[in-house]
Amino acid sequence: MTTDTTGPATAAPPAVRHVVARPPTFRRRLRSVLKHAGLLALSLLMIYPLIWLVVASLRPDDEIFRDLSIVLTDPTGENYASGWEAHRHSFTRYFLNSAVLSIGAILGNLISCSLAAYAFARLRFPLRTLWFATMLATIMLPVHVVIVPQYVIFAQLGWINTFLPLVVPKFLATDAFFVFLMVQFIRGIPRELDEAARLDGAGHLRIFGQIILPLMVPALATTTIFTFIWTWSDFFGPLIYLTSQENWTVSLALRAFLDATSESNFGGMFAMSVLSLLPLFLAFLLGQRYLVRGFATTGIK
């Protein structure tokens, strides 16, 4: 889906009601008030569980389920202290592991996907159409079809219980979604820029590195943020490949609260849940512009 949203604010045609100008009647104003009231109520409904999670994580453990409101009387940090040390290793370890994995995945996707995207968008070579169609098909291929043989490959390489199975494929552009996203973006960059550089004697490597890459920073930003969010929240991959506790990611450590000692440490579990969501929330705040644009250029989640 190539919904072009460059400059959405300026491109948006004027709304109907401005064209057919009518003085705001009482009924119209009432409708507007009702609409905002409804949307605000829905906003609260959507966000309430998240706010409650934060508030509950700051309550004494025995009060968590007695009080489901979001009024916090005397906050305490004890859940954060107990949660941080709840497992064999402290959460410092798990956060570091998640961070290392995320950085590796981001680097891999940025490098490999942009190279492939440049080839698809700008170069003419035999079988291009076939490869492009194959690339699109792999976006939709369920991971479960390939997970068993992949596991066997990594087991034979001795990579089980290392980060390699989760990072190395990213350097080989297995997240085809981002290749597609970048292809769409590069196609929007005027070819005249390439041709001018060509006339100056630049080869493809230079055109790619000095013209296309700097111009596709928005697509790279979208890729970075999505890769971060998906890697940080990934559960299936770490569950299969990371077996010993020292290699656990935050997702695996959180899950361990569920089977450890009959779920006694609710406070700690909530506190660590809040901390695990914090980086995602920050990525959302910092990258909202790019996230929305990424959605719109591809039409995929």
Binding site: T3, T5, P8, A15, V16, V19, K35, L39, M46, P49, L50, L68, S112, L115, Y118, A119, L123, R124, F125, P126, R128, T138, M140, L141, P142, H144, V145, V146, P149, Y151, V152, P169, L172, A173, V179, H204, I229, W232, F235, F236, I240, S251, L254, R255, F257, L258, F270, M272, S273, S276, L280, A283, F284, L291, V292, F295, A296, G299, I300, K301
Partner: protein, 302 residues
């Protein structure tokens, strides 16, 4: 053998043959190593008895015959199909409805869009799934609200007849991502269409059915196809909400969860491979059906 002329012709048609493949190399290696190779291997493994420790033993179609008689497998398929068929259309409908409400230039658009979008970014995480166990638990938020109006709610997660619904609600809660796409799509519809319709005296409902829906239908269709494919692969939410069991009484035993337990729990790698192929067949069938159905409702302008 291409002579000098043939080489020259190739050169003109494919001026960047070598460079192209050089740029494509990482992706191609990944494609062969991690996708095409494993697909072929998986097809073979599905015909074997394989537990990782001993060499795979060829058993023909036995895994597929076993699947036919595996009642848990059919139960898990029913759970998954129910989830897909209910949650995907509902989520898209909510996304479309809210996108229509947030029409062009309304006050507070950026605020609402952010608030509705945020859950879709967090929804795939373990933390949110953990939160969901609490929200729908016996002493959870939902029952707390119900108690305010005098209703004694059940333990939604621990009750086999409601456990799946809680995961469906979780999916609907993440309607923000399709909503954002719909908002972008709505912006593409030229305002002149609406002006003309208004001059002709068309009602808002009529304008929606005759202008908005047809012009947005390719985007709706595209999202429907992809969301169905992705929804079939739901794993984390089912795993966490049920504590890894798929319970109570297999009511949240998603197909992927059962596949994981067979493959990586019981090390029945051959059987898990056969299950994966079955899942792929089902997903393809649903996708093909979607494409067939699209002829009746998707409108292409060009």
């Amino acid at each position: 053998m291409p002579g000098p002329d043939g080489t020259a012709a190739r050169k003109i048609r494919y001026p960047d043959a070598r460079t192209g493949y050089a740029f494509l190399a990482p992706w191609l290696i990944g494609l062969v190593t991690f996708t095409i190779g494993p697909i072929l291997a998986s097809a073979y493994l599905s015909l074997t008895d394989y537990n990782l420790l001993e060499p795979a033993r060829f058993i023909g179609l036995e895994n597929y015959v076993d699947m036919w008689g595996d009642r848990r497998l059919w139960a898990s398929l029913r759970v998954t199909v129910t989830y897909v068929v209910v949650s995907v259309p509902l989520q898209l409908a909510v996304a479309l409805a809210i996108a229509l409400l947030l029409d062009r230039g309304m006050r507070g658009l950026a605020f609402y869009r952010s608030v509705f979008y945020l859950p879709s970014l967090l929804g795939g995480s373990v933390a949110v799934a953990i939160l969901w166990r609490q929200v729908f638990g016996t002493d959870g938020l939902v029952n707390w609200v119900l108690a305010l109006v005098g209703i004694d709610g059940p333990g939604w997660i621990s009750n086999p007849s409601t456990a799946l619904s809680t995961i469906i609600v979780l999916h609907i809660w993440t309607f923000g991502s399709p909503m954002v796409i719909f908002l972008a799509g709505l912006r593409q519809i030229p305002a002149v269409y609406y002006e003309a319709a208004q001059v002709d005296g068309a009602s808002p409902a009529r304008r929606f059915v005759s202008i908005t829906l047809p012009l947005l239908s390719p985007i709706i269709f595209f999202n429907l196809v992809l969301q169905v494919i992705f929804a079939f692969q739901t794993f984390t939410q089912a795993f966490i909400v049920s504590g890894g069991t798929g319970g109570p009484s297999d009511s949240t035993l998603f197909f992927t969860l059962y596949l994981y337990r067979e493959g990586f729990g019981n090390l029945n790698m051959g059987y898990a491979s056969a299950m994966a192929w079955f899942l792929l067949t089902i997903i393809c069938a649903f996708t093909a059906f979607n494409f067939w159905l699209s002829r009746f409702w998707v409108f292409y302008d060009d």
